[in-house]
Symmetry: C5
Subunit: 306 residues, 5 copies
């Protein structure tokens, strides 16, 4: 299928990248129901590391099998599937070529006491598994952040040279940030901007609240009257902070929610703000498959019309 004008425009943002990386971007942007729209919906399944297997999969035990998630992403017409090494190893051959995969390179876990992550995969792993991209989490504000950024630098350099796409999860936390600060607008925008500066092709952040956190930033937000009353305004600001919208920025759907309609409403507001797409994990795979497909269908529809 020939690429669309929208995809061609997006490729123009990544003017420094080699044809290999451009090819993998195209692979994701031309996949599934959103092919050619310039939008992405990604299924991430790394919650087994973060929360453990039962908290992740007991609600819908089919999800214990890694192959379930490949199939869910394919059947829902999503753009890509992201997971840690073992999860991809357990299905990469069977589903080869059917859905672009993102190898999640580092992970934390609920038994750990440090605000760090372990790197559990390599670029060679991503290549042998046929992945289109690597995913890497940084914790801006953490005492490990400089070290994480240096790990990212090494992996991203090697990934780009190998023609892979680099997706960065940027989750603020650390001594200067309280719980509200972690999702404050200025912090979320700063975290997204740092991911862009570090060379991310695709940036994943949480939807910001209307709070502000850093005193020096509060002054600027108020003086410059940066709009932040609605979610759409806040999303627009975060997108602007990613090189004036010249980077793909995807958002999670917020915390695990039971009320599908309000969840979908939030997704709509995020899309209205100009987000490049959604990344939806627990809210999809913890539901029965039919419900999950229905809900993912609604999200895809929102972005198809965005």
């Amino acid at each position: 299928m020939a690429i669309t004008e929208k995809v061609r425009t997006i490729l123009g943002w990544y003017e420094s990248d080699n044809p290999g990386t451009k090819g993998n971007l195209v692979r994701m942007l031309m996949q599934g129901k959103l092919a050619g729209t310039g939008k992405l919906v990604i299924l991430p399944v790394d919650q087994g590391f973060e929360h453990g297997p039962a908290r992740s999969f007991a609600a819908n035990p089919a999800g214990y099998d890694p192959r379930y998630h490949f199939q869910l992403a394919i059947d829902a017409g999503l753009s890509a599937y992201a997971a840690p090494l073992g999860m991809l190893e357990a299905g990469a051959a069977e589903f080869a070529g059917q859905i672009p995969t993102i190898l999640k390179m580092n992970s934390s876990n609920s038994l750990a006491t440090e605000k760090d992550q372990a790197v559990t995969a390599s670029i060679a792993d991503a290549l042998r598994l046929g992945c289109s991209a690597i995913g890497f989490t940084i914790y801006p504000g953490s005492e490990y952040c400089f070290a994480q950024m240096e790990e990212l630098r090494e992996l991203a350099e090697e990934a780009k040279a190998a023609g892979l796409v680099v997706v960065v999860w940027s989750y603020p936390r650390g001594p200067l940030l309280d719980k509200a600060g972690e999702t404050a607008l200025d912090i979320c925008a700063y975290a997204a901007h740092m991911a862009a500066l570090a060379g991310a092709h695709i940036i994943k952040v949480k939807p910001p609240t209307d709070k502000l956190s850093l005193p020096a930033a509060i002054k600027v937000y108020e003086e410059q009257h940066i709009p932040r009353a609605t979610m759409a305004e806040r999303i627009a600001h975060v997108v602007q902070c990613c090189f004036a919208g010249r980077r793909l920025v995807v958002f999670s759907g917020g915390d695990n929610v039971k009320d599908t309609d309000s969840f979908i409403a939030t997704i709509q507001q995020i899309a209205d703000g100009g987000a490049s797409g959604a990344i939806v994990g627990r809210n999809s795979f913890q539901r029965p498959r039919d419900e999950a497909l229905a809900m993912l269908g609604r999200i895809v529809d929102i972005y198809a019309k965005a």
Copy 2:
């Protein structure tokens, strides 16, 4: 000998691995009395590092000689023999080709004060000694866990590229876990799952108790009514947490016990839960050779019928 359907099914779980690794899996699954059954009984002798030589071998002094254990594993019809570098160096040539060996890559010791291990061997060592697999211990929950996982990542990547199998011993310990927590069901399942996510081919954990430890997990276990009253139920849960049973999971037989019948009864329950096999060290080599062969024979019989 042609592989059986059961072994062929298991190889299917490891679809991402190269023929070298598949070949070494076959070597273990087609070895000894359990050849072709899809089950494994492994003899591990790394207690000299962990507890010192006298505590390990004085009860049956023949065990001071590394060759004793190769012969014991062969004569008992076991699937593989696992030991640290020096133990394998001292018999690998004499017993070459007679029993698959697992080079235990890291070890702790009773004189150490940190919850860490030293890496005492390399992939080049495993290859020159003709091993089929490497073994590596992680301590989920320990302050060294991220570093251990990163050591595992490097060794596992190199091992897989060289066609070796990766066996991970996953032993939870650390600041968030008390003694009961280390063998609680949720923790044991989580530890097994993390080993799978990190890319282990074979996972070794301790049999879990019916306790639960992490508050956020307790809620889920209770809401979802995950059965845990019997050992078989608990084992089934751990196996499910290893990619819905698509990874080989082996269990130790519990603490060093004097009462053989109750020990064997526990092994039976573990096998009933769907375990892939047993890994039995001190409970075998600290007995006189005849008794050890008899007991290992009973364990092998259980798995032959499982």
Copy 3:
């Protein structure tokens, strides 16, 4: 364009460097309105890392787009444009060959609590992006300074071998220095000298105050009657401390100021002291483009006549 006598003299200072590095020095010294004068005005845009995106760009939102700064540096007739990895990736192809670029290799951020920086780019990045130079910040006096110098050593060695120019930002801070000490004359001169000793081709420091900080240095400054009453005298001293003026030394224009005339007056004094040029970030790109071009024009004029 043939190089001028002034540029030829400057190249003589860098007698140990290879033709590649000499060529990139020429590229910067023969660029823009100051071509051939032996002076440099550089636009640095790394404030997004240091202060966050809104504090950097909200005042002039055109600056959210990385391409804005390439164009500003070109249109103002500047010598070079310096920025972190992501900022250069987002424009390096479009503006290839139009303005020499300096890849800023390390950066701190306002969420961090350590006086360190993360290295976020590599020499391979600088080469693939067609950069003429790398930029690296050290914090003399910080507990991370030895480590930073060793990072600089590695990057500078690789950069020089690849024919790149090495620009060092030398910003004193740390346990022995209070706020006034960080810009004291003896400290500023010491910081500049250490950058020269570490092998910098171009040194960037802040304009010093007339204060002195280290007791052992105060004694010498007073005994030797080193002039420091005027900014020009202080600049002359810093330049002398960089191998008797045989290294290019550029100065920032002081803190973010609203009063353009007094800012320009300071630049004039710095130029009078024998500075090799100016490096002006926020004071240019936070103004509307016309005002920025006018102000940069005045700075360029000062150095054209220096």
Copy 4:
């Protein structure tokens, strides 16, 4: 000279090693007055690092000259000479081929405050100096022990690949051990066993006392009635703990003593216990050369008859 049956038997213990390493073992076992007996007496001169030059050599100033020790080892008919880098560099060419040398790879010193050592030589150094072996010290129980074991792993792997022999000095110390614990029988046997597990070809420990230290070990020593009343019994136990005597184990002669006869008597008891030989430093080179030769002659005689 053809190797003897005893040496052939010993080579059989090292069945995993390449012909290069076997050749260097033969070189040591076929050197000097003990050639062919399967026993070794080694002269180590690393006390300059540990205690400083005057404490090491002032008693017999001829020893300040590194060449003195090569000649002493040769004239006394010893099996090998062990020393740090500088000591070997200062005589390796003059005495090339006359005595096997062991390059001591790491050393501590009396000015240091950490229970660690610095690695001061490389395998490339050992090879260019024509050494037959490397020597490496570990401190089981020290907080640096895991790191030391990992240094040993790297060096030993490279040494074995290059055909060198690996000699490990295993000296217990650290938070769990008081002064008596460092030489307690269970600790000494454990330290020797860990060196064997880590892949040492030759193990050097101190002669153990009849004390026991670790509570869990005391229980086993008492229940199993492991004999420890005489030095010979204790040595026999340590040798058994080194793979049932299938590793060469050499012992120092105890602390620096003035009374030669009691020193020799201890050596006799150690030999009676089945030790592979002695390693005697200060007790030889701090005496006048004639006395040293006489005493080394008595030690050699003991092992010739052992």
Copy 5:
């Protein structure tokens, strides 16, 4: 010029070194007014790093220019010139082949709070700048000493393989040493000995006082009646501790002194003790050039007659 018998003897001390290193030793020993005498006078200019530029050069501002020191060393007929990377880069081409240079590889500074140094150059740097030797400082007794020795090991190994000479500055400091201890005879001799053991070709220490510091050493110095009343006796002891005089040992002239005659008298005593030469920095380049040449002439004369 054919080498002299004295130089031939010295080369014999370095029997393990390759022809490249021997050639660079000859270059230094056959340079300037002391050519062929077996003695060395070296000009070191690394005080800019240690004390800052004004404290180093304001007294004689010609010294701000790196070329001044090359010329001073040449005109004074010295054996070699030692300086950090930037200082050599700024003159190495102009003075190529006129004076052997020693690249000082690591440096501390007065703003730092740790008893460590930063490595600021590489062997590749030494080779591209045409150096004959590298210089490296260790702080025996410092908590960083093991790390420094390991840095030295890596650099020295690479330097020797590349045919360079290794000069070690050995300056004791750390928790066990008070100010007097740093220059005590036993400590100075120990520091020099450790540099020799670590493989130094040329050792630089401070002239020792008649104090003793380590209790265990005091006992030996007193029992063995090691002479230490005169500077010449103390120097002779330090030289003996460097492999019985088979390593080149050079001494600084003590603290910065105003009284030239007493300074020269100390140099004479050091030479009388058998030192291989002097290394004189601030005491030469902080004087007017004529005075410096006169004083260096007196030092050279002393060693010419030694």
